[in-house]
Symmetry: C2
Subunit: 530 residues, 2 copies
């Protein structure tokens, strides 16, 4: 089942999971009181799965659409489509909890397939979870299927074509099941790139990027994925919605922005038109040391507001810089102050000009170049999820969360969220290390990405939930959004509903009732069930 | 009634309406067969108005909210709030047709005022038209109030404060009734600018800019108004909607984008948080001659895709360049080839660097600098509507329309729309001059702005409607949007509904039913009544 068969209870190819050096293990036990790890789940075949709930008629009607060989309800396929990749998801899998596995996995090959599947599922009240790369970290793949006749996952991996490349408009029409590297390879063959490189890049899909408003590491240069998308084709239970015939228009509200971020709750994105650019001649990554997080914030804000804006612009706080978490072998050997990572793209001439201009800005806030840090970040840019697996093995609870606010609210947001995490975990007898970096910048504000580590308690799910709740409350209280790029899923739902308010929720419910009258699309995700 | 008392049947301050030189008049009569003009409407007091339909109870309940002195149903005030400023609007006013005047004009002073007015109007089935600058050119101020107990205009001019300036985030919170120059003056006192300068700048309001997705002449540098807006507060008939607590977020669909472009059909924008920037040290405008429209398109596309992108970037086609419509005194004395206008902003050093880089790109497609053209464009940038009044006086029918598409569709769109206008007017015995310019550029596409002139027939309303219908059909057929920055109103409705499709219309109707269950908000505008 699948292109690459990633680990079903951890991240990606487990051969990349690092071995933690003794110094790190000592730091975990002595510093955080980490004890025994949770162990591995053993063989897949030993896990107990509920028998498929779908009746024979429904199952064969669905199978007929995609063809028998693409309608799977075998043990392994079902388990490989249970939930996503949050820390709690992985810990539950380590314990063999696969209760919410879909009853059947369907692999459509076309927009028409999807339309027909949604029609049948609506008629038979079968819940549907659109499944791209399976990398949600907010419960976006765990719909509430109670009251339904079953739940099917629509795995979009067969919809993986580059349908069209318009070199004049610099637009590519792509199918949603393409993983990041697949899409980039197809485009690289024509010397183009989308430039969207989130940490989940190696496994996540284009449809998922759009449905969750993903933001890549080079978002300063290429924009967020919701800015990259120009048009969408969507299959809904009531038919086809096509939106976006121009970069921008004054033809009413922008309906693209209703589908972007809709997390499978309104329909299935079946093709995307995205902006592409010529592959740059050069990509260079620099590290800069800043005397403090507040000096660093001033520097990156200057770059975001007055330019020049490098393609990648990130800033670690003092704790993250000191711990140097990205390189386990050098853990704790980071620099003092704060580390900024900058990525430049273009011709060698334009890169040199931009580097010089950026250097002047960073020097004006006390920055100094830090040799090797840029290259090291580039090497490790997709490795953090592997490190998480190793730390979970060792008995640590490690997880991330992210938020975003306007610049003036940012220092308060940083303090409030950090404190809420430390307090909530400390109060449970598991003192925590909280690290933070600015991952994405805008002229008016920036995102904060937090990483947390502490000892796993006897019930890490409840332990983390308490910390996450406190952080969500703290975020909203000081003006932050509940999520900058992870999405809402089920984990963020209560805060999301507070954030957009009763009228916002009402407007979205009205749209859902219109496009998905039977309520089969990812029920309980993005919008709570009533 | 009002800040500046602009002409109620023409544009702005009629002292600025130019006197057409004899050469122009000769060109109109000999070239286009223009005969007699329609005359002026005479005194306002002679016009017949239907008696106000609002019952005494409703009228006094509404007046109580704003105070008696801000609830007006006198003859002049009602006439000053009839319709907008399209050519047909003005021609109807010249004939004394004020049939659709609102029954009452209410001037709320706060969000709470508006909420309460909408509550009362919902209860009593009174239609509401939010009224900012009154400059709609698509019928956005002419709701269909049949079946309602009356129609009131909410004139927002009293809501004209700068509520907050956040210099760290570079954000200003402003009220919707501010006209362009008022807002810029308040911000200029603090050395900031929004940078939004559409042709209607002198009269249009901030709320209107947002509700119609306005695009300014410097949109390449500052973005469209829908990109400038970061947060919105909206009063709806069912309560308050607040959206946008960060520049961007992954917290579901972007609800700001549902309000932007909603044209008063969902609620009233009562405050806006917009991006501001320090007033640039220098603003310089250059003209460049290009050998042809297609060479010019290639040049502006290069700038839009690879940079550098000046703040203003426009390109006239051969006909517009030759006719030189912006300067009546020099009409017909334009250059050959095509004229591009470029606006640069920044420090004198950055402006010089950018001018040089842009010059290299334009020279690569055969361009040559055209002395004086930039300054002349700057002087006349808000004058076109005055020229229209003079041409209408002389008996010409002059009107504009605009569309937008991806770059690869643009040459086809240009040909199709030009031909449709020429054909539709020619077939009516009124051969037309059709001029076009690229007014706004994006990496993936650009807008086309058309200006049309011919002789007025005996029924110019029907005459123009036939031409506009043909142009709308032509636009959609080759992949353009029905509007780039004028909005939908009632004039674009049938094409808009075709453009967004049945599901798009259904989604918007569902949102409207949720936020405006009595359907009082600008009925028939944006969404047709059923």
């Amino acid at each position: 089942m699948g292109i690459d068969d990633p680990s079903w209870w951890g991240w990606g190819d487990s051969a990349h999971t690092p071995v933690l050096p003794d110094a790190v293990l000592k730091l975990l036990t002595d510093g955080l009181g980490v004890r025994e790890g949770p162990g591995h789940p053993g063989s897949m075949s030993e896990l107990e799965l509920a028998p498929p709930r779908l009746g024979r008629q429904a199952a064969s009607a669905l199978a007929e659409v995609v063809g028998q060989e693409w309608a799977l309800d075998d043990h392994e396929t079902r388990i490989r489509h249970v939930r996503g990749k949050s820390t709690i998801d992985l810990l539950r899998l380590r314990l063999g909890d696969v209760a919410s596995a879909p009853d059947m996995v369907l692999l459509p090959s076309s927009h028409e397939d999807v339309l027909e599947l949604l029609r049948i599922c609506s008629e038979r009240r079968v819940a549907v979870v659109p499944f791209g790369g399976g990398t949600s970290v907010v419960g976006g793949l765990e719909p509430d299927s109670s009251g339904f006749a079953g739940v099917v996952a629509l795995d979009l991996r067969r919809m993986n074509a580059l349908l069209e490349l318009d070199e004049v408009s610099r637009l590519a029409v792509l199918e949603p099941g393409l993983r990041g590297p697949q899409a980039e390879a197809l485009l690289a063959a024509r010397d183009y790139t989308i430039g969207h490189f989130p940490q989940s890049f190696e496994y996540a899909s284009l449809g998922g990027f759009a449905a969750t408003r993903s933001s890549g590491q080079a978002s300063a240069g290429y924009g967020r994925f919701d800015e990259v998308v120009q048009s969408l084709r969507v299959a809904t239970p009531v038919g086809t919605l096509e939106t976006g015939r121009a970069p921008r228009s004054a033809a009413g509200p922008d309906l693209r922005q209703l589908i972007l971020g809709s997390e499978g709750a309104l329909g299935v994105i079946t093709s995307l038109t995205v902006r592409v650019r010529p592959v740059p001649q050069e990509r260079v990554y620099d590290g800069w040391g800043l005397p403090s997080f507040s000096a660093g914030l001033e520097g990156v804000r200057k770059l975001a507001q007055d330019g020049p804006l490098p393609a990648v612009l990130r800033l670690s706080d003092e704790a993250e810089t000191a711990l140097n978490l990205a390189r386990p072998a050098e853990l704790g050997q980071g620099a003092s102050g704060c580390l900024a990572i900058l990525g430049f793209e273009g011709t060698s001439e334009s890169v040199e000009l931009e580097r010089a201009a950026v250097a002047a800005v960073l020097a004006s806030v006390g920055g100094e170049p830090e040799a090797g840090a840029g290259a090291s970040w580039e090497r490790e840019r997709y490795r953090a999820p592997y490190l998480r697996d190793a730390l979970l093995d060792a008995g640590a609870l490690v997880e991330t969360l992210e938020t975003v606010a306007f610049w003036s609210a940012l220092p308060g947001l940083y303090e409030a969220v950090s404190a809420s995490l430390r307090d909530a975990l400390g109060a449970q007898g598991t003192p925590a290390v909280v690290l933070c970096h600015v991952s994405h910048v805008y002229p008016a504000g920036a995102s904060l990405y937090f990483r947390v580590a502490c000892a796993q308690s006897y019930d890490p799910g409840a332990q983390w939930r308490r910390a996450k709740d406190a952080a969500g409350d703290a975020s909203l209280a000081v003006g932050g959004s509940i999520t900058h790029h992870h999405g809402v899923g089920i984990d963020h739902l209560p805060w999301y509903e507070r954030e957009i308010g009763e009228l916002g929720v009402g407007a979205l419910r009205a749209v859902k009732a219109q496009l998905d009258p039977a309520g089969i699309m990812n029920p309980g995700v993005l919008l709570s069930r009533r």
